[in-house]
């Protein structure tokens, strides 16, 4: 009996283990993400964005001669150790031709330096924003659809200056993402002539930040620039600041962009007092809307940070495979900037069939993505486009695109 059950279990597992990967007509692309680890809750919508792109592509004729795009998920845990391990698995065991990911900058840095650059596999990260990735000697293999932090910090600083702020206190959560934006923000705000009265780092996930707020409130700042994730520390800090009356005006980056901020603090407290920048695409360019509608129909919220970047990264790799005419990593790497940048016929999210026809006719394509126009520069970075979000009379965020 026991023996029989073992046989049955092996028989049930066999197709899972040996079946799917080796089938002809599949082109595999690695999907490396911090599925577990500190940003797990942000990663799930990003992975959903990547999967949506794969679904669109496969539903509209697939790659090349009807090949299926298969995304192979691997967990980078937001840790370079796991990132390198995940990279090794997708590159060597799964033999992927390109990689979307990894999520966190540290894991991405480890994965590309020790696995994908030596192996010659192109990678497009959808949420690694560390400036150090720009500096890598990557042989033209490392791209990202997420703009480097350098841009968002600068955008928010200019926004604050233009809104009339001259003296600000700054606090940031002690993680790579928020620390990076804060650093750029401070440099830019001071560069414009503003004064930073206090600049304090805080550890996320504490029950109270009153001590930090007290330190920050000395110096007569007109507002608080807050760089944190809403769930980690952001909401608590705003609440503590309002309770103690230390600050009434807040500005924040996209880690704070979530409706729960309004729900928990109350729209009446935030109306006119909060602005949040977020990586965004021009609403007059209807790419974002195309993506948002499709993404919403899967039951997800398209405003989730980097979900649209995940979609774009996956779509771009597919376009590059199509353009290269073969599932060949070196050709894909060379084709990536060609399909992302002008000149060429404009392709928007979901328009895979059209893209396939244009490429088949031997013409250039220029992908205008959900997250922006995604034009790669020489370092494989995209310029940042941002919106500013404020709280409107209905207690919702109102978005204004920054030009």
């Amino acid at each position: 009996m026991k023996h029989l059950m073992t046989v049955a279990a092996v028989a049930a597992l066999a197709p899972i283990i040996f079946g799917a990967p080796a089938m002809a007509g599949n082109i595999k692309v690695g999907s490396v993400a911090g599925v577990t680890g500190p940003i797990a809750e942000l990663v799930a919508p990003i992975v959903a964005g990547r999967n949506l792109a794969a679904k669109h592509i496969n539903a509209q004729g697939g790659l090349l001669d009807g090949d299926t795009l298969v995304l192979v998920l691997a967990d980078s845990q937001c840790d370079p150790k796991a990132g390198v391990d995940a990279g090794n698995k997708v590159v060597n065991v799964e033999q992927v031709v390109a990689i979307v990911g990894a999520s966190c900058s540290g894991a991405t840095n480890g994965m590309v330096q020790s696995v994908t650059i030596p192996a010659g596999i192109p990678s497009v990260s959808d949420s690694a924003t560390a400036p150090s990735i720009t500096d890598l000697k990557d042989n033209g293999l490392v791209f990202r659809t997420a703009p480097s932090d350098a841009y968002q910090g600068a955008a928010l600083a200019k926004l604050a200056w233009d809104a009339g702020y001259r003296k600000l206190a700054v606090t940031y959560a002690n993680d790579d993402y928020n620390a990076g934006i804060a650093e750029v923000f401070v440099a830019n705000f001071e560069g414009l002539g503003g004064a930073v009265t206090a600049n304090q780092v805080h550890e996320p996930n504490k029950a109270s930040y009153r001590a930090e707020i007290t330190t920050l409130s000395g110096g007569g700042a007109e507002g608080l620039a807050l760089f944190a994730y809403y769930g980690g520390s952001g909401i608590t800090i705003i609440r503590n600041a309002l309770e103690t009356g230390a600050f009434g005006k807040f500005m924040a980056a996209d880690g704070m962009f979530d409706i729960s901020v309004i729900e928990q603090i109350g729209a009446e407290n935030l109306r006119g007092n909060l602005m949040i920048t977020q990586s965004a695409s021009d609403p007059e360019n209807n790419s974002y809307q195309l993506f948002a509608d499709a993404y919403r129909s899967t039951g997800m919220d398209p405003a989730a940070p980097y979900a649209s970047h995940g979609y774009d990264a996956t779509f771009l790799i597919a376009l590059a495979i199509e353009k290269a005419g073969a599932a060949d990593p070196a050709k894909i790497a060379a084709a990536l900037p060609e399909v992302a940048n002008a000149p060429g016929e404009i392709i928007r999210p979901g328009e895979w069939e059209k893209a396939k026809a244009v490429i088949a006719a031997g013409k250039d394509v220029n992908y205008e993505g959900a997250s922006g126009s995604v034009d790669f520069d020489a370092a494989g970075d995209v310029p940042g486009f941002y919106s500013v979000n404020t709280v409107n009379d209905d207690g919702k965020f109102e978005m204004e695109f920054l030009r």
């Binding site: 937001c78 065991v93 330096q113």
Partner: protein, 330 residues
């Protein structure tokens, strides 16, 4: 053909990571296996080694301390010394603590070390970490660079193994066993228990520092997340206990085996449909806990149990003039 070459390269990466973890488990074996010191702060000493290696070898970069560009072997030596010095300071203060109190103290110390690296941004680039760390043999073409690095790791593991086997069967190792089994009796036999515990702690921590130095090279990128307690402390404990505490072969076997389980299970789970693939990532962590539970319940001595060294033939009660020195003197 490509597929088999890929499997081969993946095997190399498994062995490399397994080898680096072997250095850590061997270090822990000196502390926990030999002497019974419950060091729950492996991640801290590991991080010291990793950061020393990174800072001493990286070219100059505006965001962190660096630009010393030491040769790699010298930096690895410095990483060991760095970890040993930190361990000496820690041991001076808390080596007298009994098992569980030492565990609590070392957990705290590891966390302090991690937060220091996270917050002293001028030296370590804070949470961003240090990138572009030079790696031994990286100038060679593929796959020779991978093979050469793996070779270096395995030679280091072998050297540590031989040295620790020698130490284990030597009087020094037997004193350690005596302290582990019955501290009072060891003290009554005239052994300076505190000094031996300190020696064991410092040697073990130096090896953990070496593990950190190897890891920093292999990953080419370190940040505070690398010394996350889950994968840098508890996984190492699971490896040692699964392989066989106090058995050096067991420590290496445990590291290789558990890393393979940790890494290779994902090849299976990534085959599942999307909605399960995300959830199953957590199942892998659960699996490690389950294995530990199972081993602790069913086979507490590990896969390869401890083997006590045989007494020297001369001392085995043979009718020799030196028969009255029955116990070994240190």
């Amino acid at each position: 053909m490509d597929q088999y070459y890929g499997y081969f390269l993946y095997l190399l990466s498994l062995l490399t990571m397994g080898g680096i973890y072997s250095v850590l488990t061997l270090g822990l074996n000196v502390q926990w296996g030999f002497t019974g010191l419950f060091n729950a702060g492996i991640a801290g000493f590991f991080a010291v080694g990793a950061y020393v290696q990174a800072i001493l070898t990286t070219p100059i970069y505006a965001r962190h301390l660096g630009g010393y560009e030491w040769p790699i072997p010298l930096a690895m030596l410095a990483a060991m010394v760095g970890s040993a010095v930190v361990a000496y300071g820690v041991a001076k203060i808390c080596i007298r603590l009994r098992a569980d109190y030492l565990a609590i103290a070392t957990i705290g110390i590891a966390e302090i070390i991690r937060l220091v690296f996270k917050n002293e941004g001028w030296a370590t680039n804070g949470p961003r970490g240090i990138s572009q760390i030079p790696k031994a043999f990286e100038g060679l073409p593929q796959p020779w660079n991978t093979l050469a690095f793996l070779g270096m790791v395995l030679v280091i593991v072998m050297m540590i193994y031989l040295a620790l086997e020698r130490a284990r069967t030597a009087p020094w190792g037997r004193v350690m066993t005596a302290i582990r089994e019955n501290e009072a009796a060891a003290a009554a036999a005239g052994k300076n228990v505190e000094r031996f515990r300190l020696e064991s702690f410092v040697i073990g921590s130096a090896l953990m520092g070496l593990g950190g130095a190897l890891m920093a090279q292999y990953l080419k990128q370190i940040d505070p997340q690398v010394s996350d307690p889950l994968t840098a402390t508890f996984l190492v404990f699971v490896m040692l206990i699964a392989g066989g505490s106090a058995n050096n072969k067991g420590a290496i076997l445990g590291a290789m085996l558990m890393w393979t389980v940790w890494s290779a299970t994902e090849i299976l789970t990534s085959r599942l449909p999307d909605e399960f693939a995300i959830r199953s990532a957590y199942v892998r962590i659960f699996l490690i806990g389950l294995i530990l539970q199972f081993i602790l319940q069913k086979r507490p001595q590990g896969i390869l149990p401890e083997r006590r060294p045989k007494p020297h033939p001369r001392l085995r009660g043979d009718p020799a003039p030196a028969a009255n020195t029955g116990s070994t003197k240190q």
